[in-house]
Amino acid sequence: MSNSKNLDFKSFRARIGDLRGREYWRSLEELSRSDEFDAFFQDEFPQQAVALSRGVDRRSFVKLMGASMAFAGLAACRQPEQSIVPYVKQPQDWVPGQPMFFATAMTLGGYATGVLAESHEFHPTKIEGNPDHPSSRGASDVFMQGSILSLYDPDRSQVVRQTGEISTWSEFIAALQPVLSAAKASGNGLRLLTQTITSPTLGDQLQQFLAAYPGVKWHQWEPVARDNIREGARMAFGSYVNVVYDLTKANVIVALSSNFLEDGPGHLRYAKDFAARRRVRKGTTAINRLYAVEASYSSTGSVADHRLPVRPSQVEAYARAIAAGLGLAAQGSATENGPWIAALVRDLQKNRGASVVIAGDDQPPVVHAIAHAINQTLGNIGSTVLVTDSPEVMPANHLESLRQLSADMHAGVVKALVILGGNPVFDAPADFGFRDAMNKVPFRVHLSSHYDETSLLSHWHIPETHYLETWGDARAHDGTVTIQQPLIAPLYNGRSSIEVMAALIGGLDRPPYEVVRTFWRVKNGAPPAPPETATGLMADDPFDVMWKKWLNDGVVAGSALPPRAAAASTAIPAPQASPQQSGLELELKHDPTIYDGRFANNGWLQELPKPQTKIGWENVLLMSPRTAEKYGVDPPDSMTNERRTKLVHLTFRGITQTLPVWVIPGQADDTATVTYGYGREHAGKIGDGIGADIYRMRFSTAMNGGPGAQVEDSKRGAYPVACVQEHQTIDPRVVGERGIIREASFAEYLRDPNFAHDEEPDPSQSMYPQYDYPEYRWAMSIDMSVCTGCNGCVIACQSENNISIVGKDEVVREREMHWLRIDRYYRGNPDNPEVFHQPVPCMQCESAPCEPVCPVGATSHSVDGLNDMTYNRCVGTRYCSNNCPYKVRRFNFFHYADYDTPALKPMRNPDVTIRTRGVMEKCTYCVQRIMTAKIAAEREGRRVRDGEIVTACQQSCPTEAIVFGDLNDPNSRVSQLKAEPTNYSLLPTLNTRPRTTYLANIRNPNPEIKA
């Protein structure tokens, strides 16, 4: 025991004291990792310690292993201790082995999208959209799907740190007190920096704090800025109002560099509403029409009926031209493409009150103001355009807010800075010098999920909880409130913004549950819950009944902000000095998969091919073929066919970055587009050091780029790029004659609805006898007309089916593993081609070429007609993949699955095998979901109902392009879709008779505009 005298029991106690509830036991394990603890343990309990260090005989080894196996499950029990309420689906209570679904919400850029999180034994494993939530309506996007991996990210920050050293929450609270007293005394020194906040609870806390400390200033910064939208709304409506679109009423939509189908709050809802008016079925008499004016392909532009590639700085002139066409006093109209604009204007005029013009987030406020003015003139406001109060707690111009903060920091005025989330050191505008300014602040606190660039420069770093770990609330794009409920106790002792604010306000360790529930109790006039029921619900309490319903539904009923009567000003400001017309213009966008850089350590999102370029793992400089040639950076085909390209030096306002150039058709000439968010240095093992840091050339005066960029070939030779679809897809001759993409205009469709129809294949032409399907015939229908190529299905599939990521090098070697891919084809003039997105899952052929060639029968025909893979029978000859004409099979060339990282284990879907090296895998139509439904139906002695089985891809799809069901049921949705005249299958001449078929792409071009 003499040793123990040297032991720092105080620090142990401090650490133990820092832990709560059930974590105590798990955390002993963490404690025991320290050497001093080991020493103590060996001294205190010598016999146990020696048993293992001396080596173990067989008998004790088996005993120990048995115990470890038995207790391994315990580590997995991480049920939150408060009452969380599962979504409507029964069972209401936990049945081992049965997943439960809980409604909560994920925020991105402050705005909430409702999710249903699937939980297996209290680990969330899958994210779905919440059908009751107005921003989701059951759909989910890549960030929602990817967020489950972010939860289990082994690189998440796990401990409070003080200047890099491990510390505790209580020490942080202690350290905070002098700062708070100083702030109370002297006023101005303490600053808060948050991201966009729509949370009513957090808003209330902030107001309380600001009231208690009048000198404190609250700044906001979100790198994917909505300042243009806010300022544009203020120009048009006089205040920071929120604009919500109702696309179900819109016959004509004009997107002015807007990617409303993929970006911004409510995009899933917009995609859903857009598709509802786009779908062509028997009896459809009209569909909507979409015009897009943009520089680089967005999802919106790629599905537009008419798209004009235009330099970003010229979009304003086109907006003015449309306004002028409608009779508004707008100067500075674009002079080119007059007939195009005239036709568009006539279309708008024909659809007064049933049209909408949407300006893009990256366009200056004046474009938004013009869009509002046009909508006002057309009588769309109140019909397709709804104006509400802002859901944000404090709508503000983030750029100005951060500018002021940086200036104050540089001036030494800021004595303490508390940063709640975000990563401003990485993503602040380059000219603010935020990194240097940080060093001038004597006390810096950063709440963040990772120990990132900003944390590194902070005195205190607090690990932030994931949204699935904590209580909170947030508003949707229309203001609807969701109470966020945790599905799992915090994995790494993280704290949420609400907890940090509670500590700032009261200096107390208040659980977020109590804060949120008390806020809503008080707001609804109920008294705060008595302490003894702080964690449980009171069955007879009227508030708790309501609260339970909110948690159950995932929305607070009636909390949407009401539309208000508003009129946009139709006075259009005169144009600024016309921007430089010649030279190369740089367009900056946030990244479609890693957003502003916050998902940089998310392997799924990194590997996900970007929707338009099909490149993963880094940002590239997009240029049109002509422009690349003009600037001498055009990579030869011999490079691009090999997933390689040239590295170029991009210089903008004196800053040079080296990054790969990628030539893409349909890009506006003299425009180079690049996304920011890459180039992280402290993102984690996956995200560090990949891509080019474009924030370094993002200036407060050119947040979205501008003219004056230069590119130069770096002459460094071929550089590998993880592009999963090479340029061959561009060759229209090849694609056209294969009948892969079948498309027509709506007018052509009305004339000949059977344009895509093939002869029925003759089953008797097969060498082998046909199968009977007495029970079910599972099938899928994919509507190409409404697929926007958003990638939601790809990540949903990855998450549902435990699909491994393989890394950039392996993608360059053409070994990506996604079971579902979205093929992209171009048609027409390479300057501005039409784009087609074609999701390709397994076709589940009735005469499957993969089945007869497998020498061991590892892939076989199921009774329902699925091409089943038996992983443990597969020896890996790859013959099936060679013989698959659709190339949907994926081979584990190496041991791609991560069997070892403990943090990732609870994330996996327990219903799906994790594949090993040397095994073929492919889309199964989510056979685990089929089986679950079949078992349920069998137990109840009935057939599986239509719609009871929803595949992961189908569930995520915002446009409901994917429909799955039983062909033996003539009334199922999928049977009816297959009876549509536009139904066709891929490669019908091969007589494979695929179960997955497509509905031909139908667009609605304006007959007045010649293609």
Partner: protein, 475 residues
Amino acid sequence: MAERDQPPLHEIRPTRQLESVPDRFIPQPIVEPGHTFATITDHISSIVLRKKTPLGWYLGFAVSLVGMFVLNLTIGKILFVGVGLWGINHPVGWGFDIINFVWWIGIGHAGTLISAILLLLHQEWRTSINRFAEAMTLFAVASAGLYPALHTGRPWFDYWLFPYPNTMAIWPQFRSPLMWDVFAVSTYATVSLLFWYVGMVPDLATLRDRTKNKFGRFIYGMGALGWRGSAKHWHRYEHAYLLLAGLSTPLVLSVHTIVSFDFAVAQVPGWHATFFPPYFVAGAVVAGFAMVLTLAIPLRKAFKLEGFITTKHLENMGKIMLATGLMVFYSYAVEMFMAYYSGDPFERYTFYTRVTGPYRHYWYMLILCNCLAPNLMWVKRFRTSPMWLFITAQFVNVGMWLERFVIIPESLTRDFLPSSWGTYHGTRWDWGMYLGSIGLFLFLLFLFIRFLPMISIFEMRTMLPEAQAHGEEHS
């Protein structure tokens, strides 16, 4: 009466008097004049039985050991890490592994053709080359066998391809051409081994009797199976050998036919063609003869075997190479024409890409090697010149490898959906495995020429004019 005194026509031997008959119509002797029974036996057995191993053998064996080292390294790495070390990827599931498999199997064909078909066709000149051609077959099959065994993702489960009784009552899937391959290749290996071994029994007895080494006497004695050269032995031997020849003959056609089914049965454009079996067999024969020439020419020089492997042999092999080379050329033409004539866009595009795509250089090289180079054999000066024959054989060796490259991975890079098109390159591990399998082949070959008679002693003896009368009646 005078006419009756004339010997039968076929016994007329060319004499000096028949000046007007051009040289090419005069049959060349199979064994150089001057050899006797004793010299033949001495010469061939001394290669094996001499004490001093020539330096050249050590050098060659050292090279083969380097190859073996590379092979073992590659195999070890592949077993530990996975076949991802190779250049295969998602459209291209088969690369060097199957190219080399088909290449080696093809090479093996000459051995069987020489021993079996030429035996049945009474082509006696085959006697000089059949032993090592058969050995070559065997070693080529050994090298070939490495690939299907190791190309699977989980080679430790390869035995699942065999129909062995198991508790789960799971059988292989007999519709798969890979299953047919398993039977075809294993049968081929077994029959080739038996044929080679049975043919060697009398010679092993000769070695047993002549060796002064006790250990050698024991080993050769074991191999000789108690051969004493009795008439009964000879009688049974002749029967067994003939039967085995009969068994092997269909194998020459069937093995490569079935290998070609791996492709023809699949529906990849560029693979799916009904004429693949004869096309592949012709290719196999040309490849095999090229390899026999590649081996025979240096061996003949090194071991002074010009007396046994005469220019006549070389010339005959050159002729076969020309004939089968032209068949291969014709196959290429048919393939191209059918792609065009079928009107099938996929097929057409695949062949269009062969000529114009990223791998066009391979195709041009292929045409040079397999279609143009063998035409040298039209000229007698080339086909009787060991150097030119050797050069031509090298063209064919390379060309046949390229043919499989063009067919196997290249077709996969351009199949049905353009979105899935890809590229293919061998990695260092592909090359390691390829060079390693050549190392294995050479390793076995060097052991063979050092420890076993590379030319059939007793059969060569029958080729002498003094044995001729009997010989003809015997066979």
